[in-house]
């Protein structure tokens, strides 16, 4: 068990206390592994120093792919592959292609972005998450600190920083 991953966990009750605690812990030089919350805490990603998610870019690119696929498909089928006069309109009746183009843009943007989200966050039915504390999906915010990443720091020191920053409990957790 000695060389396995060991974590110190700070348990927080309140989101505002948590936000200040994250700032304090980081400024005292402790590297935070991750914070686990039962609901999205606004501003948490800023104090943790995470870069903005690039998922909107993925959504845009997939949306553009949808637009081009839809337009290509409709122009190819209606204008080139089997041209037919329908209702006296042009073969390539562009305004009529807009609804399908719009729908396919939305479809691909949504599915592409969600797919990227699933892959990047490792969300899949057979995923076995590491649960630090089961209360993190109920009513507690769990700040996990990897001891191996903070070898320069004394363990007792880390625990003290957590306590003084407002953690209601400080626990330890090991994974094999």
């Amino acid at each position: 068990m000695e060389r396995d991953t060991n974590f110190v966990l700070g348990v927080f009750d309140d989101e505002d206390v948590l936000l200040h605690a994250v700032e304090e812990v980081r400024s005292s030089g402790v590297k935070i592994h991750e914070v686990y919350s039962p609901y999205p805490v606004h501003g948490l990603e800023h104090v943790l120093g995470y870069k903005r998610s690039r998922l909107p870019i993925a959504a845009f690119l997939f949306g553009m792919l949808g637009t081009s696929l839809a337009l290509t498909m409709q122009f190819y089928m209606m204008r080139f592959d089997w041209p037919m006069i329908i209702g006296g309109k042009d073969y390539a009746a562009f305004p009529d292609f807009i609804p399908v183009t719009f729908e396919m843009t939305v479809l691909l943007a949504a599915f592409g972005m969600v797919g990227v989200f699933m892959i990047s966050s490792n969300l899949k039915p057979w995923a076995q998450p590491r649960i630090f504390d089961v209360r993190s999906t109920d009513d507690k915010h769990i700040m996990a600190i990897d001891i191996a990443n903070n070898s320069a720091m004394d363990l007792a020191k880390i625990e003290e920083i957590l306590k003084s920053s407002g953690a209601t409990e400080v626990n330890k957790k090991s994974f094999e």
Binding site: P38, Y39, V41, L44, P99, S121, T137, D139
Partner: protein, 454 residues
């Protein structure tokens, strides 16, 4: 934990803590189903079984089983389709449009409303599929697939084809939106459970651990999905209205149709949300989450959209006269005074007059009155589609072919089938899925009345 404000009504009453939220919602999933649930579920499943006789008869014999004739070629099937799609608009509107407008009260009702949306769209999609007559060949008619006729493609100039794309996109995007929201709540149930339930909800929760990084991405995904779903929800009923508006039938080819249909869809959708939520909050004892305040706000949406619909009815009547086009005016005159006058005036009473009662605060905040009026609105909206479709068709340009439409038992049975399907799915959802979005409710528990706490 919860802070109460002297200025604002709290969104969640009863001084709930975060753990109370988890407990109150999860206990429905974890406990044994109540007798009331069993009775309701069995009734719904019974209606489904009964209705499926009509469905099987229709598939076996063909749509000659319905009361259609050569003058009225579209009747209950399309009426039911538009009605169900309309109902299916409230869920995404609540979760997407109200998210963009930062309306925090949506958090208690969005889960059930989205579920309702998905089930209503399934019911709606039944009708175009069945009315193809031979739905097993439908893929060739509805999807751009290469086929044995050479490469004769589907017709991209047709609004019926746009509908295929719109409804299927709407259904799948709504489903994804709903499921993404469910993942954190499934994880909550997983972490409370043991044994088989832990395995099942563990798989359903996709290994969610609530990491700050994942929540950041989740928020980003929710916002973009809301941004995509908002024009989508407006486009769907717009395209449904194109089915009529791009035709040359008097009473159908009016430019007012898209906004008028969208308003009507929101109107009927909110009515159905109210019908379901009033029962759900009672049966599952969620009165602290779905408060009178929520019901009142939804009723206000009903007044607004009901009034838009009322103005649209009057406008189209006026324009039909003002245009000077005789068949156009006759179509409307015939609606109000012809053999289907009773349907027209049912529509006018239920949709234009009855929602105006919500101007009175006492009615707007009364559960009994809201429940009754929500059903009245749904009846009215069914008649709106019936009036638009059947009265416009039954007296066409040729008086010798004028006819009436009489539904057969198969028409009624297929409609019943969708009711059975809708409620069976909804009751299953209510039992096995968390009916309230726990994570989102927790996120507004404190901030909704933050000002006073400092």
């Amino acid at each position: 934990m919860q802070v109460t404000s002297s200025v604002r009504e709290p969104l969640v009453t009863g001084g709930k803590s975060y753990h109370d939220v988890t407990h109150d919602v999860s206990r429905q999933v974890e406990g044994k189903p109540s007798l009331a649930w069993f009775l309701a579920f069995l009734t719904a499943a019974g209606v489904l079984a009964l209705g499926s006789i009509a469905l099987i008869a229709t598939l076996w014999e063909g749509i000659g089983m319905w009361g259609l004739n050569k003058t009225v070629g579209w009747a209950w099937d399309i009426t039911n389709f538009v009605w169900w799609v309309g109902i299916g608009h409230a869920g995404t509107l609540i979760s997407a449009v109200l998210l963009l407008f930062r309306q925090k009260w949506r958090t208690s009702i969005n889960r059930a409303a989205e579920a309702m949306t998905i089930f209503a769209v399934i019911c709606a999609a039944m009708f175009p599929v069945i009315h193809m007559g031979r739905p097993w060949l439908g893929a060739y008619w509805a999807l751009p697939l290469p086929n044995t006729f050479g490469s004769l493609w589907v017709n991209f100039n047709s609004p019926l084809l746009w509908d295929v794309f719109a409804i299927s996109t709407y259904f799948s995007v709504s489903l994804v939106f709903w499921y993404i929201g469910l993942i954190p709540d499934f994880a909550t149930i997983r972490d409370r459970a043991t044994g088989l339930r832990k395995t099942i909800y563990g798989a359903l929760s996709f290994g969610w651990d609530g990491a700050a990084k994942t929540w950041m991405r989740y928020e980003s995904v929710s916002l973009i999905l809301a941004g995509l779903a908002t024009p989508l929800v407006l486009s769907v009923h717009t395209i449904v209205s194109f089915d009529f508006a791009t035709s040359v039938i008097p009473g159908w080819h009016t430019t007012i149709f898209p906004p008028y249909f969208v308003a009507g869809a929101i109107f009927s959708g909110f009515a159905m949300v109210l019908t379901l939520m009033i029962v759900t909050r009672k049966v599952f004892k969620l009165e602290d989450y779905i408060t009178i305040g929520h019901i009142e706000l939804m009723n206000i949406v009903i007044i607004v959209t009901g009034s838009i619909v009322g103005v649209a009815y009057i406008t189209e009547f006026f324009i039909a006269w003002y245009s000077g086009v005789e068949p156009e005016f006759y179509a409307f005159y015939n609606r109000a005074t012809g053999p289907y006058f009773w349907a027209y005036w049912t529509m006018m009473t239920c949709n234009v007059i009855s929602p105006q009662l919500f101007w009175i605060k006492k009615i707007r905040t009364s559960i009994v009155a809201t429940f009754a009026l929500s059903i009245v609105v749904n009846i009215g909206m069914w008649f709106e589609r019936f009036v638009i479709i059947v009265t416009s068709l039954h007296r066409d340009y040729l008086p010798s072919s004028w006819a009436m439409f009489y539904p057969t038992w198969a028409d009624v049975g297929v409609y019943l089938f969708t009711f059975g399907l809708f409620f069976t799915l909804f009751f299953l959802f209510a039992k096995f899925f968390p009916v309230i979005n726990m994570a989102e409710v927790k996120s507004v528990l404190k901030s909704s009345s933050e000002k006073v706490s400092k």
